[in-house]
Each structure stands twice: as structure tokens, then as C-alpha cells.
Symmetry: C2
């Protein structure tokens, strides 16, 4: 783990591709190792408590994981009257699993590539999953998510794609392609939804645009929504969901509130108002999604050389 | 201007009080000086173009100023059927002035403490004001905003408070107090609104809570809304508006759209949907505003020692 040292302090730095770096002060390195697939590190940080770092990119922290995980999971699962079978692809820290279980599904299948990520998180970041891996409704498989979805014989009400970024190219790259989404659609029930994190919303719009286009190539309904994750560089994160027609925006606040209450869910970021408000995009981003060829005009920052 | 140098690159760093630092790569220093009130610097940055820095704190950049200025000005002025007289306190870069003029007021009075800020911005950041200072409807005064408001004999439809943060203590500190808001209320018309930037929303919640409480002590209606400003550390910024009863949330999307069209305003961030959606706060922030004594439980990050 390359940490910068300044007058006795240690800092973890994550550099955006645009001459922008977020630095987080580190108390100590709790774990550092390498799996078959990636480097894995757990830091105890000053602002965000413990943080999981994969291949030098921050994935989640104890203090703000609730925003990312609630916003990845709740908008999709609340849009289903009864989310019985849920598939999570990735999500080795268990934060998505924990929120999926709050919706009282009959079964959650989680397919994580890297057993070492789950083991590291259960040991060093137990608060993120809060015991979710021990729930009897969970079937945890260590396998390639692409292959699992391609070969699966059962269908799902929701598929939650909780992966490392497609860029720089890593183990998850194939799971952001139109080919993968085609395979997903085959195992999604008629009312089902897929949701994926889709990278930084304001800075790395190239990635968001590509994920959006790939989902559009496969699904009739595709929607982007945003939430801020303070520990991620760029902070404002995008999520993209898709379906054959089931539209989260068709719910009103009262229905969302009623479903949250019926399922006994109390959230720290997500709310009935935010369920709708998170889909209201900045004008320039809405214009970009409609006309991605205008990227050069509309982007806020220039991409810097790789 | 203290810039960090790494292997030939120069970086401007802004450290939050919580072990968090945002660093922006600098091409060159365009201007560096000191006025009677503060240090003033203009940097040419890699990600955001030119940036204004006052007392080592980034105030605005060419690339993302539109988000901050549109969101400071439009929600308030669109809530007025005819914003005839507008007062801007601070706002020396001219970005708020430019957006206020888009609402076709009869007159905008701008009271800026530091003549050197306006001169520096007109010379080095002309795109932010885009000629607004030359508009014949503008009366620009170089004076103390607190004293101006205290002694003013005329009333205003809207008062836009566009100042440096109250912390660390600087020239603008007095303009975030309940005493100042009391003086503001005296010169606000019955339907009038005041709006102020109120600091980082997710990290520096102490400041937001204090500004909110001070406005609550004076005005019956107080509302907080959010927008992301990528060049600011913490990114998610808060704005707080207040009035005797005029409520921006009483407008629906159609009315906002119609007023934007009637005034010929085309915005890059703000939109009729975002007019409403920006007021939907994260659950934990809404809970904090309702019960500020829960700050220790609800805050995301610990404040670090000063």
C-alpha cells in the first residue's frame, strides 16, 4: 500500500484521472495482502474509520458505507411488491447483502469472485455486513459472476451488481458490457430490475455514459440516479438501473413509505422523498445521457492523459 | 500560496478539519497578492481551469462555478413573481450577479467588502461574471455588508449572501449570525427571501447547523437544499434560504419551467425537477436539523483536533 508520509502523518491518496486527488489520513494499516485476483488492504482512517482498499482503490468505509449500500439496494428492491429471489454479483464486503435481507426476500444468492475479500471484510470490517453472511437465507458462492449469470437456470426478481469500477481494467470489466446485460435479462423475471453502481457522476462521465449505453442496448427502461459518497474521489456517485418496464419513478412517496414500514426498514440516507429526488439529474448530465456525443462540450473537467 | 510539489507537478491542497484533503493539480500561478482584508490568488488548474483562492481556501473555478452560482441564486429568485430589487452581499467574482441579472430585476445592489477581489476576478476570471459588472442595472458598492444592511433605508425582494465560510474566522463571520439575519429581515419585503451558502453539507455539519439555527431564530420559514460543487472539499454543498412565509417548495415543476422560459434563462445545472429535488435531504441530515443535539450520533465523520 503506497502511503504518502508528511511530517509523521500517513495519507492514502486516490487520484482521479483529471488532476484531482482525494487524500485520507491513515491511523494505521490493519491488513495488507494479495489474493489470486487483486491486492487487498484494510486501513484505519481518521475521517471514515476502517476502509477496504482493492488494487489501491477505496471500496468502502465503516462511516459512509450506509449511503452507497442503501442507495444501491433500496430503490430497486422497494420497486418490487415482493422481492423473493435476489442475486448479488460482487459485494464482498456484505453491505449490499445486509440491505437486501432487510426487504425480507426468501433467498439471496451472492456470487463473489474473491473469497479473500469476504474473509478480510468479515474479519476487519464486520460492521459493514453486520452478520448478514450468517443469515440462513443467503447462498454465498465464490465464482465468476459472468459465468454464473450465463449458466444460471433460475430467475431472479432483482440483480444487484456491486463491483469495482470497470476502469482501470480489472476483474470486473466484463460485467459492465452489453453482453453481460443480455445474459442478465435472460434470468430476470418480468417485473425484475437490475441495478449497478456506475462510477463517479460528475467527473468520470465517460464510464457512466458507456454503462448507460450498454444497458440501453438491452433494456427498454434505464434510469440513472445519484448519491454522494464522501470517501470516494469525486464524491457524487451514479447508479443505473434497468428493467423491462418496472419503473421506480412510478411509485409515489406514500407507497415507498408504506413498503419501508411494512418491511421494518429504517435507513440513514435513503428516504421516500429521496427515492424520487435522486433521479433528478443536473441539466448537463441529463443532456449528456440524451446526447452522449456532446461530451466534449458538456463535461465539467477535461480528462487528463492516462 | 503554499503549493505542494511532487516530481515536477504542483498541487493545491485544501484540508478539511477531518483528516481529509482535496488536492488539485496546478498548471501555474496567474496572480498572487494581498489586499487589506485577505490573501488573493488565481491559479490555472488542470481539472477546473482558473480558480480563485482567498486566504488559501478555494472560492470558485471556471469549470464548476455554474453549479454553485445557479444553485445559490435561481431557487430564490424563481420563487418571486417579480424580483425587482436584489441585494447581493459578497460575491466578488460576479457569478451570482450574472445569474441574478438573468431574472430581469430592475436593480441589483452588490455590496462587496474587498475591491481587490472584484478587480482580480474581472482581470483573471472574466468568464465567471461574463460582463455582469458592466450592466447598467447594477450598483456595486465596496463596503461592509453588515453595516450596509444595518443602515439600509430601502427594502429588497431578495438578499443573496455569497460569502467565504464563517470558519476559520475571517471577514465574513459576522454575516452568519442571528443579529445579521435580524437586520436582513428588516429590509426584506413581505414576500422576500434571503439565501446563503451554508458550507459543506456532509462533513462540516456543525457550521450548517449553526447557520440553520441562526436563521430559524429570525424567520418562520427556513429550508436547506444541496448541490455538488466538485472543486470544493467535501463536494456536497448546502444552501439555506429563509422567508416570512414564501416557500420555494410551494412551486410545482410547471411553474418553475414557465418562469425560466418567460425570463429566458437556460441553466446548466438547475432545472425544474432539481428545484424541488434539491430540498430532499439525506435522512440523517434531516434528523440532524430537527434534533441538532444528536450531532455526535449522526455525523458521518469525526471532527479532528484543530
Amino acid at each position: 500500500m503506497p502511503l504518502a508520509s508528511n511530517s509523521g502523518e500517513q495519507w492514502f491518496g486516490e487520484r482521479e484521472r483529471v488532476g484531482l486527488e482525494q487524500r485520507i489520513q491513515v491511523r494505521r494499516v490493519l491488513y495488507e495482502g494479495r489474493s489470486e485476483f487483486q491486492s487487498i488492504c484494510v486501513l484505519d482512517t481518521v475521517p471514515f474509520g476502517r476502509a477496504l482498499i482493492l488494487d489501491n482503490i477505496l471500496q468502502t468505509t465503516e462511516k459512509d458505507e450506509f449511503i452507497y449500500h442503501e442507495m444501491l439496494v433500496h430503490p430497486t428492491l422497494i420497486s418490487l411488491t415482493r422481492p423473493e429471489r435476489v442475486l448479488i454479483v460482487g459485494g464482498g464486503d456484505g453491505g449490499s447483502l445486509r440491505r437486501a435481507l432487510e426487504h425480507s426476500p426468501r433467498e439471496v444468492v451472492q456470487v463473489e469472485l474473491d473469497r479473500a475479500v469476504v474473509e478480510t471484510c468479515r474479519r476487519h470490517l464486520p460492521r459493514v455486513s453486520s452478520g448478514a453472511f450468517d443469515d440462513p437465507r443467503v447462498q454465498l458462492l465464490f465464482a465468476d459472476g459472468y459465468e454464473f449469470v450465463e449458466k444460471a437456470q433460475e430467475s431472479f426478481d432483482a440483480i444487484i451488481v456491486d463491483l469495482t469500477d470497470p476502469f482501470p481494467p480489472g476483474p470486473s470489466q466484463r460485467l459492465f458490457t452489453a453482453e453481460f446485460y443480455q445474459a442478465v435479462r435472460r434470468i430476470l423475471k418480468e417485473e425484475g430490475l437490475i441495478v449497478t453502481q456506475s462510477s463517479s457522476a460528475l467527473l468520470l462521465t465517460d464510464e457512466l455514459l458507456s454503462i448507460y449505453a450498454n444497458l440501453k442496448a438491452v433494456f427498454p427502461l434505464v434510469r440513472v440516479y445519484l448519491a454522494p459518497v464522501p470517501s470516494y474521489p469525486g464524491v457524487v456517485w451514479s447508479f443505473t438501473l434497468a428493467s423491462a418496464g418496472n419503473d421506480p419513478l412510478a411509485l409515489d412517496e406514500a407507497v415507498v413509505r408504506q413498503r419501508l414500514e411494512a418491511r421494518g426498514i429504517s435507513s440513514r440516507y435513503y428516504s421516500p422523498q429521496l427515492h424520487l429526488a435522486s433521479f433528478a439529474l443536473p441539466s448537463f448530465l441529463a443532456a449528456l445521457l440524451a446526447e452522449p456525443e456532446r461530451l466534449q462540450d458538456l463535461r465539467i473537467t477535461q480528462p487528463s492523459a492516462q
